[in-house]
């Protein structure tokens, strides 16, 4: 199952990684990106958003760093592969694998106590502004997380591992 989609502007946030499927309909922009080596198939990693918003720093899979505007990224079709747990792109009922825990040592220890570790699988039961409720597959024990906590947990899709 592949879900190629336009990532909505509101969902653009650091730590999202996606595979570009098409460069968008503006020929000039597409050509510019292509000439810089950003092509369909490239893994794009959102690094940060400028303090005033609107401009986004991304890196390609060959280590190049770029600044783009929201409009350009939103025009691409992209397949999200990794995202923070609080992302809009997270879907209820999906199973994900934990890729990384971003916080400090205490945060990691606290998470580990409730069984949240790198490489573990988890399933989302509920999303939204209320605590994110998720269910861990290995333990089958539901865990509730706050938004701040969810932000620091990076998860990746497992359905398209073969890609």
């Amino acid at each position: 199952m592949t879900t190629t989609q336009h990532i909505p502007v509101s969902a653009l946030q650091p730590q999202i990684e996606c595979i570009i499927r098409s460069l968008g309909s503006d020929d000039k922009t597409a050509q510019r990106l292509a000439q810089m080596g950003i092509l369909p198939g490239t893994h794009l990693h959102i690094i940060r958003i400028a303090p005033l918003g609107g401009t986004i720093e991304v890196t390609g899979d060959q280590g190049q760093s770029f600044a783009l505007r929201q409009k350009e990224i939103a025009a691409m079709t992209c397949e999200p592969v990794a995202m923070p747990l609080d992302s809009e792109l997270v879907k209820v009922g999906q199973t994900y694998r934990i890729r990384a825990l971003m916080g400090g040592k205490t945060f990691r220890q606290r998470m580990e106590r409730s069984g949240i570790k790198e490489k573990k699988l988890l399933q989302i039961k509920r999303t939204g502004n209320k605590p994110v409720l998720m269910c861990q597959i290995d333990l089958n024990k539901p865990v509730e997380l706050g938004r701040g906590e969810a932000k620091k947990i990076i998860i990746e899709r497992i359905s398209n591992e073969q890609n």
Partner: protein, 670 residues
Amino acid sequence: MNKTEASVTIALAAIPNSGKTTLFNRLTGSGQATGNWPGVSIEQKSGSFVLGEYSINLIDLPGAYALSPVTEEERVVRNYFLQSPPDIILNILDARNLYRGLGLTLQMALSGLPMVVAVNMIDEARRQGISFDLKVLSQHLGVPAIELSARTGEGIPDLKQNLYKVIKYPEKTRNPHISCPPLLEKAFSEITEAINQSGIDTRLDHTFLAMRQLEEDDPEQRENDDKVDVMTRKWYRRLKQSLRTSIPVACANCRFNAARGLAMEVLHDQPAFEDQLTKQLDRIFLHRFFGLPIFFLLMFLLFQGVYGLGAPLQELLSSGFDRVGTWLASQALVISWPVWLQSFLFDGLWQGISVVTSFFPIITLFFLFMSLIEDSGYMARAAFLMDRLMHWLGLDGKAFITLLLGYGCNVPAVMGTRILTSSYSRILTMLLIPFTLCTARLQIFVFLTALFFSPVIAPLIILSLYACSFGAVILTGLLLKFFQIGGTPEPFIMEIPPYRLPTLHSISLRTWYELKDFLFRAATLIVAGVLIVWLLIHMPADVPPGSEATWAGQLGHMLTPVFYPLGIDWQETVALIFGFIAKEIVVGGLAVIYSGSDLAGQMSGHITPLQSISFMIFCLLYTPCVATIATIWSESRSIKITLLSLVLGLGIAWITSFIFYQSGLLFGFH
């Protein structure tokens, strides 16, 4: 290539941020010349050096990502390759990230021209633990590849030796193979066949020409009906239907697939590496909360560095000039000359030279600090931080810095537009800078507000003038964006290069070239402008300078119908004519015109506070000075842009003053 030919043209072609300018400076040293590419406002730099028995003409091509153009710079590079192919291509790759540049390298390797690849920044790559096998690179590309560091000079002799070998013993180059989808390959081979049959005489590879044909913007637009064009159109239509992407994107895809594989082989399959230092620094400089305060602090330091240090030096220089001028004028020999000649020499020519030299300190400091910011990699970060703010004016973030520096002095700011990457933002910024309130204009405002207003009101008036300047920049920006003066904006996709330590050598070299450029390109125009104003103020010879009977006075009277609705009398009109030389001399000019001992008293008796504000608004918005206009001309190389700048300044100044003065009268002020 003809071995007996003593002069060889080498074109330096590379993607932006690969150290092209540094290598160019390293190879040519002082033998450089600048000009413009025909028809566009893009600088053409060439230099010469000697290689054994050959004299080399090195052409520095603008930075380009590919030969299928998106930007005006890339169009220049493409046209250059197709119309006057160089004898040898010198291409640069960034050792820290080979993949970035390989797309262009592969494209050029297909051209069939002899090429040498310089893998630059080897010192930094080594520091980051990258190692590679250049033999593999050289074999795949079919051309010599040399590792070097243009910054430190390491590997330069090796490069020269290889260039020499390529000139002396030219070998038939073997083009690298890039695999493409079958349909695209078929298109290339059929168009190549048509080119073969056309019997065209070129040193360029025919497949390379076929690729250029197909990657053009729109082959349908071409009128020619020869076989090649018919074939191209046929394939263009067919490919457009069957490819999922546009043709240039599909071609880029083939190239970068090859580039990815090649980079991996050369780098012994090392994973894409990360520059830890850059990552750490960016965490601070691009921080969500601290990023902007740090930026403004740095801008403050930059402003202080340029103008805080520059202004005293500037004053020292011009007072030195005055003193030397006075001393020369008092010489017995000079006094024996006719009065008009003395005046021409000292009030005209000497004054003009003095204006030119007074810019030296700030231009020097400006480019010292600017190169520091640019070479270190911070400029791209600044552009990233400021992009949102400038975007709705149709500009990119770098324009913010040049506009900001305009608040010190317009001349270096206009020169600084060179750092802008697209010609669209360059032209737009160049036209906006004259509306920034420079320190010379500030002097007029300080004098006049002190004269007409209480110490409480005066600062508020000056503050409002600053607001008026911001407003003029923003509104004119929107106006120019709306009318698409400068063409259409280019897509904003900016590379953020890793941080680097700039070297004194490259910074000082750059500053020196900028100064030289200013001297050769703008200086004559400045002196000419000063002389014209001198003529206006001093002719005819038998009346007191600046008085009603001079040409300037007559002009002032003639312009009365134009300036009367603004509340500006002929005396002030003449002062505005003085202001064309430099805004610093407006107050002095007023003293000459009123030719009395008590300027303050005379002026406050003659004009009302409302009129004084109207005059100040006009001063703020009209043409800053002849030096700025000369610099705009020398930077844009376009009469159209220069005239537009004049018209915009005068027009907006007139309209704003008119609205202000008339509504002031309506509200009962006078």
